[in-house]
Symmetry: C2
Subunit: 245 residues, 2 copies
DNA sequence: CCAAAAGTGTTGTTGATACACCCATGT
DNA sequence: ACATGGGTGTATCAACAACACTTTTGG
């Protein structure tokens, strides 16, 4: 059964691929990139490290993977512990595994990203995140370890995913105007869009439900409010549709 | 600094998120989904387990992540050890982390997938893979652990990625005809395509270089051969282009 | 000559793009 | 009245789908 063509490492014949050697890993962590949208700016929630080796620096929100939970559950748990938000769109990015990504120890981290509505967040959290604050995506502080890389990767992922599924809606309040939605796409994708064409395309998809309500207290013509309809989305999603603007 | 809103687990105040507890993981493995294309069929390379707990069953090709290598390097190494193929397109899928995905031990695996040209493989390998054989994607045997899930996920990933980048070319020989390419897309995406429209679209992209050569020994009009040009691809890729057919 | 695949041409429809213009509202 | 954003209309152009047709080659 000598089907292994060895290069760096050699193995004896009686081993099965799955059972070759002892673990060489010190631990697995989860790191969450939490995106928010505020006044036209895409923002990320970062934690300030007040103690330990990375004192004074900022990092992503994370924690250890527990023995009896999947990484999805762990990410959900960590998000809940930090923001008390439950049942949120959460997606795994990938594993980050560079041997020296953390000094001295061999830690592999699994990245996650999520989009939260700042309004919900502010209301429901009910606690002051003294150590965690929002940072504009264009004005980031220095980050610990490879968190900069994780963040850049998740930004790329967000830009790609936002073109294929209506996940951007997670960043907006329940009721929103079409131009709010357009500005969100502009900010995420870093492009400018034509108002008229954006309206046509998004309405043509029939993904939004027009409400009777209008904006209040604005110093210009009040815009109609819309909401995202998950029911309609489910029907549409089977056929596949794209969000390129 | 009580910014943790505890739910299941509670933590004392003096801990930093990164330093809460000891590792609870028995090991990290890499599992590779290796796609090939043969006579119009999409196939996957599987290993037959001749010993150990999973005796008699089939599984993905995998191995342990070593102490001083990244998972990308590990996947590359494993692919090389098994097929002696070097410098191949290889992409991380994600981490698979269900607590009970492997009996008794807590093993997290990082999935990778790759597309190999069967011709190259047969020629260059230079060794008989007695224990590893190709299986048609529609006629898969029962797989160990969660390998079925990993495989399905990678198939989904392949279908998505193939629409956004010309990775499908990795499955074809260096020189190929337009209809070979079309059949490849049809097989991967599970759809039928119009010959004429496919030609127009793919040629319009100017991604292929027409060769002077033609097919040999075919019992019908010989088709012109093309090759994929990575130089042209690089230029195009900056603007972004899509492969939806 | 026939089968089989290579390769070309045509036409109607759809959707993206660019841009001009009118509407409502608070200051 | 004017600034600001909300909202509508339209002409042009490029891309795509469907399908009919011609060409080359081996047997």
């Amino acid at each position: 059964m000598a089907f292994l063509h060895t290069r760096k490492t050699s193995r004896t014949d009686n081993e099965t691929v799955s059972e070759i050697q002892k673990p060489t890993i010190d631990g697995i962590t989860i790191d969450c990139v939490i995106f928010g949208f505020n006044k036209g700016n895409l923002e990320v929630l970062l934690a300030h490290h007040a103690e330990g080796e990375s004192i004074g620096k900022w990092g992503l929100l994370g924690g250890y993977l527990q023995k009896e939970e999947s990484s999805d559950d762990a990410a959900q748990r960590i998000l809940y512990e930090l923001t008390s938000l439950d049942n949120i769109y959460l997606e795994q990015l990938k594993a980050f595994t560079a041997p020296k990504r953390v000094p001295r120890r061999r830690i592999v981290t699994i990245g996650y990203y999520t989009l939260v509505n700042r309004e919900d967040y502010n209301v429901k959290a009910g606690l002051t995140l003294m150590e965690a604050t929002w940072h504009k995506i264009n004005e980031l502080p220095e980050l610990i370890f490879d968190h900069q890389e994780i963040l850049q990767f998740s930004l790329m992922q967000l830009r790609n995913r936002v073109k294929q599924a209506p996940i951007g809606f997670n960043l907006l309040p329940e009721k929103f105007t079409l131009l709010q939605l357009m500005h969100l796409y502009e900010e995420i994708l870093g492009i400018e869009l034509d108002k008229s064409n954006f309206r046509r395309k998004i309405l043509h998809m029939k993904l939004l439900v027009a409400l009777e309500e209008k904006q209040q207290d604005v110093s210009h013509r009040a815009a109609k409010l819309y909401k995202f309809d998950p029911e309609i989305y489910k029907k549409l999603t089977e056929k596949g549709f794209n969000f390129e603007f």
